[in-house]
């Protein structure tokens, strides 16, 4: 063995970052060469990630780097997320050449793609929170370029929002890290669980963890920090939308899992917060997706909703009791969601490339004639909707079961609350089915308005999405051999145990049946009934009652800026007042023009005697007075001797 396994960890992070400038110059020279290089780097990273996942967990610390020292670790959920990440980047890079054909500034995109890859792998493979923070910020900044890439007005605004949220999140997180470092003395993830459990200052620990939660929650798209997500994902190019939705949000989820397992294991308050915010995110995302008439926006809102599902699972995990199903559900759903969004977004990119629009009404029937695309999209949609036999069904069943389990454990009002959550869960699942049906029917079933070039899918994009779509179906058919193995692989890192579930039992099928029934009803009655203009067959564009960003955050920010500036002006004008007061005092009755004293007589020769008023005005008199004074002083001094 020439190389130890742990050296692969920093390699995974540094290789893409180091390759970024090389790829930049290559891509500027030749499109083929550049795209090839990107795929090659991604493949290398994928191979490394695969190897890391196969080997036992390992860690590597570099003590003297960056003041604090950085460290990396693999194993369990890290390895799985790292592998998923490398896989999605590789697949997405395959779709790049077709999507970016004839577009400007591709070199920039490729370079920042690789930078982000390095950053995000660093997040997953970080051995301590300091390393994680550095990589997290790198990832945030590098992926900002994706959002702004199209340089349209919408993209600019989305990028501004994204950057602002990322910065705020990063700083809040940093504050939390400072607090943790101060309280526990280390940020090493291996040592944190014990130290946190032994920590006496529960309130302080909870607040620090909440700071981290804000940082990670922003990245995950958790309500109420989700505002950037439905704007940023559609604004980015399709391959990067897939990555933003599919894997960047997972870095937030991963962070939240770290908070749960390392800092606040079994903390009821955190559980309640996650449950509340997760439920809101889950329902809100689904409702927004039902109303949306923009293809990528629908998918982005769907991402919100799916993150909500995962957060509800995380809330179940936080309770610290009977966590096996929740842990498995989270991992499985994160995996499914990543793969599904890869398929759906890249499919959306193919359609966009042909029709140059994302409006569902204009895209009507666009994919009808392209069978491979249709099949892949259908597989993705069915998985997302949770149809039995697909991956989505498995993960949702696990999450659902974990809620049911908690209902059994809880009592009284808590049980009632959880039952409410369970219903919200089922309804959200139904809404998922409804909006995916809406998308599929509109894009692939209805007849196109006008005859145009039929959409064709290129080989690269097909290679990118077909394996993921097939995996969703195949893994969904044999959950015990796939999802349970994966769950067992990650169980220890999530402080839970392996499990076995009868997925196709009547009990579990009932949940799916309820969801799908709700979905069918919503689609038939609401989408087809109320949201469709019956004369043209178009979906009605619904206007939002309230936009959290435009109606709350931006005015709040403006108000804060105004208040701050006002206070500062007030404070400074006080100083100014003092200065002015001082100046006024200083120059009170200051002579603007000098009127020098005058003396008409001194040193003047005159023929006749000049009468000089009183004697006291003469120089002689003044000198005489002074002379007397001096003489008196002298006499006094002499006398004293």
């Amino acid at each position: 063995m020439l190389m130890k396994t742990e050296y692969l960890l920093p390699l995974c992070v540094l290789l893409p970052m180091a390759a970024a400038p090389v790829v930049y110059s290559l891509r500027r020279r030749s499109a083929r060469l550049g795209d090839g290089a990107v795929t090659l780097v991604c493949l290398a990273v994928l191979a490394a990630a695969l190897y890391l996942a196969r080997m036992p967990a390992c860690r590597l610390a570099v003590p003297d780097l960056f003041l604090q020292g950085v460290s990396f670790a693999s194993g369990g959920v890290r390895s799985l997320f790292g592998l998923l990440c490398a896989f999605m980047f590789t697949m997405s890079s395959l779709a790049d050449p077709a999507y970016f054909r004839g577009e400007p500034r591709c070199a920039r995109y490729d370079a920042f793609l690789l930078l982000t890859l390095g950053g995000i792998l660093g997040v997953f493979y970080a051995g301590d929170l300091f390393t994680l923070y550095i990589c997290f910020e790198t990832m945030s900044l590098a992926s900002w370029v994706w959002v702004a890439h199209n340089e349209t007005e919408a993209a600019q605004k989305a990028a501004d929002t994204y950057l602002a949220m990322a910065m705020i999140g990063g700083l809040v997180m940093l504050y939390g890290l400072f607090r943790l470092q101060h309280m526990l003395g280390t940020l090493d993830l291996g040592a944190l669980p014990e130290l946190a459990a032994a920590c006496g200052d529960r309130q302080g620990l909870f607040l620090s963890a909440c700071c981290l939660l804000v940082g990670f929650g922003i990245k995950a798209g958790m309500y109420p920090f989700h505002v950037w997500l439905p704007k940023a994902h559609p604004a980015a190019p399709a391959p990067s939308s897939a990555l933003l939705s599919g894997i960047l949000t997972k870095s937030g989820v991963f962070g939240i899992l770290l908070i749960i397992t390392c800092l606040l294991w079994g903390d009821r308050r955190l559980s309640m917060i996650l449950l509340a915010l997760g439920t809101v995110t889950m329902v809100l995302g689904a409702v927004l997706a039902v109303f949306s008439v923009d293809l990528k926006r629908t998918l982005a809102c769907s991402s919100l909703s799916q993150i909500g599902f995962i957060l509800v699972g995380a809330a179940m995990l936080t309770t610290g009791e009977e966590t096996a199903l929740a842990a498995g559900g989270i991992v499985a759903h994160a995996l499914n969601h990543g793969l599904t969004k890869l398929v759906l977004f890249i499919a959306a990119g193919v359609l966009y490339k042909h029709k140059h629009t994302l409006d569902l009404n204009e895209l009507q029937g666009a994919g009808r004639s392209c069978l491979p695309l249709k099949i892949c999209f259908l597989l993705g949609a069915m998985s997302l909707a949770g149809v039995p036999g697909f991956g989505g069904y498995v993960s949702k069943t696990l999450l659902h079961e974990s809620i049911v389990e908690q209902i059994h454990l809880a009592s009284g009002s808590a049980a009632g609350l959880l039952e409410g959550v369970e219903w919200a869960f089922l309804i959200s699942g139904g809404l998922t089915a409804a909006y995916m049906t809406k998308l599929f029917v509109k894009l692939f079933v209805q007849k196109p308005r006008s005859a145009g070039h039929p959409v064709r899918i290129d080989k690269g994009s097909l290679t990118a999405i077909a394996p993921a779509a097939a995996a969703l179906l195949l893994m969904g058919l044999r959950p015990a051999q796939t999802y349970e193995k994966i769950a067992a692989f990650t169980a220890e890192s999530l402080r839970s145990a392996p499990f076995a579930v009868h997925y196709f039992s009547l009990e579990n099928l009932k949940g799916a049946a309820i969801s799908l029934t709700i979905g069918a009803l919503v689609y038939l009655l609401f989408v087809r009934g109320l949201l469709t203009d019956h004369r043209t067959g178009d979906y009605v564009r619904a206007t939002a009652l309230i936009d959290l960003e435009d109606d709350v955050y931006r005015p709040l920010l403006g108000l804060t800026a105004f208040a701050g500036a006002f206070a500062a002006r007030l404070a400074y004008s006080l100083t100014d007042l003092v200065v002015r007061l001082g100046a006024a005092l200083m120059n009170y009755k200051a002579p603007q023009r000098v009127k020098p004293g005058e003396d008409h007589h001194f040193g003047r020769y005159s023929k006749e005697y000049v009468r000089v008023g009183a004697i006291s005005q003469t120089l002689q008199f003044e000198l005489m007075l002074f002379g007397i004074g001096v003489v008196v002083t002298l006499v006094y001094l002499m006398f004293k001797l």
């Binding site: 020098p596 040193g603 003044e622 001096v630």
Partner: protein, 485 residues
């Protein structure tokens, strides 16, 4: 070479007498050549005699036993001679342009040369009697210069100047008496001529005498409470205000205070007593008060005159700290302030003579028409404010250091006053510059350049000297160490 000391005193006086001749004073070009030649020759003689010759004290006259007129040159003389020997010829050049504006040149230049001789005498004075003699002569020789215009305002200023100076000299006379009665009465020695073997009462009497004499000589250095004559004297022609009332006469006052403190009474006798603290308190009050009043003045020359009052007390404050470092600091600031303040006055005089403007609110935008003048004014302002690496910074730094070493509460208050004054210095100088460069109407004055033949080069030369003094400050300091101790 000892005769050269006498030469440096008598030659300008003789040259002044030469101006009685109609042949010389009738022709302006000849007059200029004659005066500048005389000043230059005297400066060369002064510089040669002080820096290249080893001199023994020379006694010229014996009045009675122990009371004699003696000439001698030591390190402190060199500092003072450096100031007058460099500045006198330069001011003469400046005055050629300026006095065309005022008139009465023969009389002016006659007394101007006469004062040069007297100042040399002060520098070479070897004991208290000689110093006192030349000190009185200085008052009389410069009185006609202050009263040059001979209008009622000039008469008023002259009378005030005369009164204050004579009163001061009378107080100074006390010191002579006591130093001769209780001291050896010999020449100046660093550490004093008095010795320390006194009983407590005698020592206290001597301290009272010292305090009175300090205030007496301090009058020429505009020490509180006798500062008022200096701003009043700013009605004199600018070369007089610049050279005599910013450099030579007022520095003679400070010079006499140093002679009195360090070379006659000696710091051993005075340190830690009221004889140290009363003058120090007066100096601190003057530092702050002078700057405050400078800020109040709208009249440019008076503003600078009050600034001089404040800066002279930097020197006197340093003198009253009574340590070797403080002595060096006093000499340093004497040098720095002389060169800086004369440049500032030259600038204001240049404005006055070319545009007839003498108030702050009238000079808006003038920098455009007097670029060289204001350029030099800016550099000198920066130097006075204490912008490193210009000399004002270093001198204030050493003064502050010396005060810090002392460590008493009064010296610390002095440092505070120094800071406060530095802040005000920035205010009262920057307000002049900001008016000149950034006028209220936003228009820098365009039009023909107003600078005159001799004025601009003199100002530039002075600026170069100031900058050199800052850059080679380390060498200057080691020179001072070598000369003084």
């Amino acid at each position: 070479m000892e005769f050269l000391m006498l030469f440096a005193i008598l030659f300008p006086m003789a040259a002044a007498l030469g101006l009685c001749s109609r042949r010389i004073s009738g022709d302006l070009r000849l007059l200029h050549g004659y005066v500048f030649g005389a000043a230059l020759v005297n400066s060369l003689a002064l510089l040669y005699v002080t820096f290249f010759a080893r001199l023994e004290p020379v006694t010229l006259l014996h009045f009675t036993q122990g009371l004699d007129v003696t000439l001698a040159a030591d390190g402190l003389s060199r500092v003072f001679i450096l100031i007058i020997a460099v500045l006198w010829p330069l001011t003469t050049l400046y005055a050629f342009d300026y006095m065309k504006h005022e008139g009465g040149e023969p009389r002016f230049f006659a007394f101007f040369l006469l004062s040069y001789g007297v100042c040399s005498g002060i520098a070479f004075a070897g004991n208290m009697v000689t110093l006192y003699m030349f000190f009185e002569m200085l008052t009389l020789a410069t009185l006609p210069l202050v009263m040059h215009k001979m209008d009622d305002k000039a008469r008023f200023a002259g009378r005030r100047y005369l009164l204050y100076s004579m009163a001061g000299a009378a107080l100074g006379f006390i010191a002579i008496v006591f130093s001769y009665v209780y001291g050896s009465g010999g020449g100046f020695v660093l550490g004093g001529t008095m010795g320390t073997a006194f009983d407590a009462q005698t020592a206290n009497t001597l301290r009272v005498a010292f305090t009175l004499a300090f205030f007496g000589f301090g009058v020429k250095a505009a020490l509180f409470p006798m500062s008022l004559w200096l701003p009043t004297a700013s009605v004199a022609p600018t070369p007089v205000t610049a050279l005599l009332h910013a450099a030579a006469v007022v520095k003679a006052g400070a010079f006499a205070c140093i002679r009195l403190t360090y070379y006659t009474f000696g710091v051993e006798l005075l340190r830690g007593t009221f004889a140290q603290y009363i003058p120090m308190a007066a100096a601190i009050v003057t530092i702050a008060g002078g700057s405050l009043l400078a800020l109040r003045q709208n009249h440019l020359k008076r503003r600078l005159a009050w600034s001089t009052v404040s800066n002279l007390s930097y020197i006197l404050f340093s003198v009253t700290l009574m340590s070797n470092l403080a002595l060096k600091a006093a000499c340093m600031h004497m040098l720095a302030h002389a060169f800086i303040k004369i440049t500032l006055f030259f600038g204001v005089g240049c404005i006055l003579v070319t545009t007839e403007k003498e108030y702050l609110d009238e000079i808006g935008g003038l920098a455009g028409r007097l670029p060289v003048t204001f350029g030099c004014f800016t550099i000198a302002s920066a130097a006075l404010m204490g912008v490193p690496p210009l000399p004002g910074f270093f001198s204030k730094w050493i003064i502050g250091t010396a005060a810090g070493y002392d460590g008493g509460w009064l010296p610390i208050a002095g440092i505070a006053a120094l800071m406060f004054s530095a802040f005000l210095t920035a205010l009262y100088l920057m307000s002049i510059l900001s008016r000149a460069y950034f006028p209220a109407n936003g228009q820098i004055g365009r039009g023909e350049r107003l600078e005159l033949t001799w004025m601009a080069p003199v100002q530039v030369l002075l600026c170069v000297l100031i900058v050199c003094m800052g850059i080679f400050n380390q060498d200057l300091q080691s020179c001072l160490d070598l000369w003084l101790f």
